[in-house]
Amino acid sequence: MGKVRIVTDSTADIPAAVREELGIEMVPLNIHFGSETFLDTVTLTSEQFYDKLQTSGVFPKTSQPSPAEFLAVYERLAAEPDVEIVSIHLASVLSGTYQSAVLGASMLESAKVHVVDSRSASYGIGALVVAAAEAARAGQSVEQILQLIERQREHFYIYFLVDTLEYLQKGGRIGKASALLGSLLNIKPILSIDPEGEVAAVDKVRGHKKAMARIVELLERDIADRPIRLYIAHANNQEGADQLSEALAERFHVRAAAYIALGPVIGAHAGPGTIAAFVSTE
């Protein structure tokens, strides 16, 4: 049995150290400020991005990697003998990244690539990728890893708050939360990623504190008393991340916790100030 290598893209928001340790390959998306183009998290860090967002006054655009970029990574990995590749990507309803990966994979002849639509975003992908990489390192087969990904998905819960729906709207990723657009009241939608990978509003409240409390309630409903692994992600909003983390730690048995920085591409679509809870009970 050959070796399984794991590929993802920059929107999985996996910290570089974790990627290196687990040998995860990452293909960056592109981010454009006017005529300037950057490689997501590579030539533009999260910190630089949020600075630039504030100072430039330009609304950034993003684009998927080309099939050739995926092909290049796949070819490099396939240079080793007897390698199989599992390539896990941003929800296909949110981005053409998955499509690019599928095209890249179809051009590779020397090895087999399994392209997986995560139907999720940010650490919703990241957690799947890390679990897959750990399983690969433990010598599990592609079949087992693909099953593991599905199982992980079933025990994964995502809620997030954006400061404004403007970024989701401008980026065209508002999905099923569009009903809240144009509201003159400052309504805070509690957002999630639905099973298809689309952004969906699961509830709405007025006021930030109530939104936090509501996320705790929703998670209580989802996971009852099971212990959790908790990943709090934020777009330049450490204070909000701390509040959410404390509120959840108070109520749940947290086995492991980590902060995740939302990368430039995810940040460009969710907007600065966004905080997210990624919770796994596996």
Partner: protein, 595 residues
């Protein structure tokens, strides 16, 4: 000429009703003045007058010597025109009455007494929590007395007794309802009923000579009575007139079909195809501006090359031609609103079902990828509100129809039925946003077929907004109803207005012209100055754990004072979020919600 009435037929009954309505109209302002709260918009008299005027109108349209038919006509008119709690109860009293005499060509004194009693029973059933010391009690005691007059063969004598008993019962209402005693008034609705009975007696005394009834002016002038003119004084009078003029405008029944300027409700999706027509580049703002010249009620929502367009236009073709410069059209839906409106008007005449509305929709198959008319949506929402700002907020959070009205001008049952029939949804939530509109809304619920109507008993604008925020498109109707009801309990509502007379309530001395703060239906402070009253009210409302104060400014709020108020909140309650909106409501300088 006087005649002895042993039997009363439809013509006699009509004369009684006309005289009763006339008498109520002449005294409507007095009834308005009996408002318990010294607020500038007491309107029980106005409401009852408009209710009975609607009954009279129907009765004049369908005159009949057959008592049962005349009473049916009255009942139908009252039912549709019912406004305010007393108006709704009045309509129920005569609904029961009409049921009882339905088959009778004419009725004896005993039959009339029994009909009055059926009316009382019907009205009690219509009210969820009947309160004694109100119009209900007055009607009940009068009917009970009438039933006891078994030996009376003379209808005039019977009605005189009924009137006498009603007056006695009215005089006792302050003993039954402490708040009346505190303020020193009798119940306004009960007083209205007494005026109606007075008219009945006067008509019977005149002895059936009703030649001048066509000229009684009831139908011509019902609106001039509305308003707190007598109590408030000059400055507020003009404002009140404006309010009433505004409030009466949107009621669809008052609008002639030919008054619709842009006749076609046009909706479609535009898929932008870059370069479709050379030199035409789609720009949302320019596109919106261009369409804006072709109609009103314009909505353009663009999302990644897909543009949803909604407009009321006279020439839908022009709109689509413009759009087709930029791409392809799909999901085209055009409705003739004049047809639709004519249907609604007919519906009120008692003929057409709600389904007729749906058939007015025309699917246009000409354009590429035209889909059939989308199915009716699952949910709709009707809210009652007054003020441009509040109306805009309501619309922005998903209310389909905002009915103009509030404490000053309660929409009628018919207005609510109208609004509901304009929405093509399976379940429609109605938010009355005023305690005096809840009954009319519930009555409307009973009149709507083919649609589920759920009344959320919101008593204030803040409660209405809280209910809207709690609504979830994906949840089922029952879950939504309970979530919305729970939401209105969690929010605190405050209103600031001025007192129109001296009074004493809950040990608080209220002076005419002072500003009063009302929290959820209770006056909690009265101060000579607006700022003092507003701050005091906020202090009463805000509790530990509250995090958001929403301020809706009225037309007479000034920005310096509003700023002062915001500064006060920030200083008193650090960390409190403040949301400030121009509500545009009359008479209430500020509406607060605290949550």
């Amino acid at each position: 000429m006087s005649k002895r009435f042993i039997l009363v037929n439809g013509t006699d009954f009509a004369a009684m009703v006309f005289a009763g309505a006339d008498n109520l109209r002449n005294h409507a302002e007095k009834v308005n003045g009996l408002n318990v709260f010294p607020v500038p918009d007491g309107d029980t008299g106005t409401n009852m007058n408009l209710t009975i005027a609607s009954g009279v109108e129907e009765l004049k349209k369908k005159p009949s010597a057959h008592l049962g038919k005349a009473a049916d006509a009255l009942s139908k008119g009252l039912l549709m025109g019912a406004r305010g709690n007393s108006g709704v109860i009045l309509s129920q009293l005569f609904r029961g009455f009409a049921k009882h005499v339905h088959d009778l060509e004419e009725a004896s004194a005993q039959q009339l007494a029994a009909a009055l009693q059926t009316g009382v029973e019907t009205a009690y059933k219509a009210v969820v929590k009947p309160v004694e010391g109100t119009i209900l009690t007055v009607s009940k005691e009068a009917a009970k007395h009438a039933l006891q007059m078994k030996r009376t063969a003379d209808v005039l004598e019977l009605m005189q007794e009924v009137l006498g008993k009603a007056q006695e019962a009215l005089a006792r209402t302050p003993e039954q309802l402490p708040v009346l005693k505190q303020v020193g008034v009798v119940d306004a609705g009960g007083q209205g009923l007494v005026y109606v009975y007075e008219g009945f007696v006067a008509a019977l005394r005149r002895g059936g000579s009703f030649g001048d009834m066509e000229d009684d002016g009831i139908l011509d002038a019902p609106f001039e009575l509305a308003g707190p003119a007598a109590a408030v004084g000059g400055a507020a009078l003009d404002l009140a007139k404006e309010v009433h003029a505004a409030a009466s405008r949107p009621a669809q029944a008052h609008l002639a079909t030919e008054d619709i300027e842009f006749g076609y409700c046009t909706e479609f999706m535009l898929t932008v195809v870059p370069g479709k027509v050379q030199g035409q580049v789609f720009a949302e703002d320019a596109f919106r501006a261009k369409l804006g010249q072709l109609g009103d009620s314009l909505l353009v929502v663009a999302d990644e090359g897909l543009v949803k367009v909604h407009i009321h236009a006279e020439y839908p073709g022009e709109v689509m031609n413009e759009a087709m410069k930029f791409g392809d059209l799909s999901r085209i839906k055009i409705e003739n609103m004049r047809d639709q409106h004519a249907h609604i008007v007919e519906e009120h005449a008692g003929a057409v079902s709600a389904q007729a509305l749906a058939s007015a929709a025309v699917a246009v198959p000409a354009a590429p990828a035209a889909a059939p008319r989308p199915a009716a949506k699952r949910y709709g929402m009707v809210a009652v509100a007054i003020g441009d700002g509040i109306t805009d907020i309501m619309t922005s959070v998903g209310v389909d129809v905002v009915l103009s009205g509030g404490q000053t001008m309660n929409p009628s049952t018919e207005d609510i039925v109208n609004a509901v029939s304009r929405i093509d949804a399976a379940t429609i939530f109605v938010l009355p946003n005023n305690s005096n509109i809840i009954l009319a809304a519930q009555q409307a619920a009973g009149l709507i077929e083919h649609k589920q109507l759920i009344v959320i008993p919101t008593k204030t604008i803040p409660q209405g907004l809280a209910a809207i925020v709690a609504f979830q498109d994906k949840a089922d109707a029952a879950a939504n109803e309970s979530a919305m009801n729970a939401a209105i309990k969690r929010i605190k509502s405050g209103q600031v207005t001025f007192a129109v007379r001296d009074t004493n309530m809950d040990g608080m001395e209220i002076k005419r012209g002072h500003f009063i703060g009302i929290e959820d239906g209770t006056i909690v402070c009265s101060q000579p100055g607006l700022m003092d009253a507003s701050k005091k009210l906020l202090q009463e409302m805000v509790e530990e754990g509250d995090e958001l104060v929403t301020i809706l400014t009225g037309v007479d709020a000034n920005s310096d004072e509003t700023e002062e108020l915001c500064a006060f909140i920030s200083e008193m309650y650090p960390g409190m979020d403040i949301e400030l909106h121009a509500g545009g409501q009359p008479l209430y300088t500020y509406i607060f919600s605290v949550e």
